[in-house]
């Protein structure tokens, strides 16, 4: 009886294991940070949290195999062709504004040329200009103000040759502050546009 169960188990796992194997390796992200990934099947799971750590799983019915550490040479050999075609990581710029205004602070105005040359260098036609305000004043008014700020950045970029169709506008009003404050608080760091270049 026991033998037939073992036999059945071996047969079953042998069958499902033959179908497909998944191997996962954790590597540093573009900022150099190493995060965490949990690889699970129906019968177990393994957590990877160090650079180069790797685990394979042969089937949902089998627990993942023992964790190993993959060498850089092995990673390159297995994934080099893929890694050569990774997109350039998205990049964002922050522009700050004067109180209740679509006028950039002096410092932010000087950063515009750098953002423009970066957009051109990346040949990006995939940007978001996201406008924000601080919590001073009426929330509905702030949605409008942040919209005008986002549009202002779009207009400034457009004026320097960046196609308008490449820039999406989002208006957050006072709902997504960079620095958390109470209501009706003036905060320079929240009067901003975040320009995301993908």
């Amino acid at each position: 009886m026991k033998r037939s169960i073992i036999l059945l188990y071996v047969l079953l796992t042998g069958l499902v294991a033959g179908c497909s194997t998944t191997r996962v390796v954790l590597v540093p992200d573009p900022q150099g940070n190493v995060g965490e990934v949990v690889v699970s099947t129906l019968t177990g799971s393994k957590t990877l949290n160090q650079s180069g750590q790797s685990v394979a799983a042969g089937a949902y019915l089998l627990p993942p195999e023992k964790t190993i550490v993959m060498t850089q040479a092995s990673i390159d050999a297995r994934h080099g062709e893929t890694l050569a075609f990774e997109p350039v990581p998205p990049q964002s710029y922050l522009f700050y504004f004067l109180h209740d205004s679509v006028e950039l602070t002096e410092n932010s105005a000087t950063q515009l040329p750098e953002a423009i040359s970066r957009i051109n260098q990346r040949e990006s036609c995939d940007m978001v200009s996201a406008g924000h305000t601080d919590s001073l004043g009426d929330p509905a008014y702030n949605v409008q103000l942040s919209y005008r700020r986002a549009k202002q950045i779009k207009a400034l970029l457009n004026g320097r040759g960046i196609a308008a169709k490449c820039i999406e506008i989002i208006s957050y009003g006072e709902n997504a502050p960079l620095v958390k404050t109470g209501n009706n608080v003036s905060q320079q760091k929240n009067r901003r546009v975040e320009l995301l270049i993908r």
Binding site: C19, S20, T21, T22, R23, V24, V25, L26, V27, P28, D29, P30, N33, V34, G35, E36, V37, V38, V39, S40, T41, L48, A57, G58, A59, Y60, P64, I75, R78, H79, E81, T82, L83, A84, F85, E86, P87, V88, P89, P90, C125, D126, Y172, N175, A176, L196, R198
Partner: protein, 150 residues
Amino acid sequence: MAHRNALTHLAAILALLLSAQALAEEPEVIGKVKTVKADAYIVRAGDDIPAQKSQNLHTGDTLKTGETGALGVTLRDGTMLTIGPSSKFQIKEYLFKPLEKKTSLITYMSKGTASYVSGAIAKMNPDSVKIKTPSAYLGLRGTKVLIEVD
């Protein structure tokens, strides 16, 4: 009679305009193609569309490559997904509404190699990011992984 003819024409023109408008209403764009090495495709509604730089992606799209292909995309939240040769990776569900805190990124990788760099969705709500393969489930917490499925 001539009158009726004119009416039929008008109806035909109207029908054309309506269908043109229906076509113009593109589903939500969830990301864009960034890098392409032939042969690479976006599989949509059963059709293999040759991938092109800056092409829009929709929920349900499958990224697919032949023996020489590679394909890299960036999604709206900054998630970057690149597949190597002979690979297939479907974006089954994508939801990124940061203000409403509604996020979801559910994918299925059936074969090949892939590089996956998580974006804002994994930062905001790691549990809403799921990658499934024919033999395992992956849960990501703000990170980069390389995956092989054979």
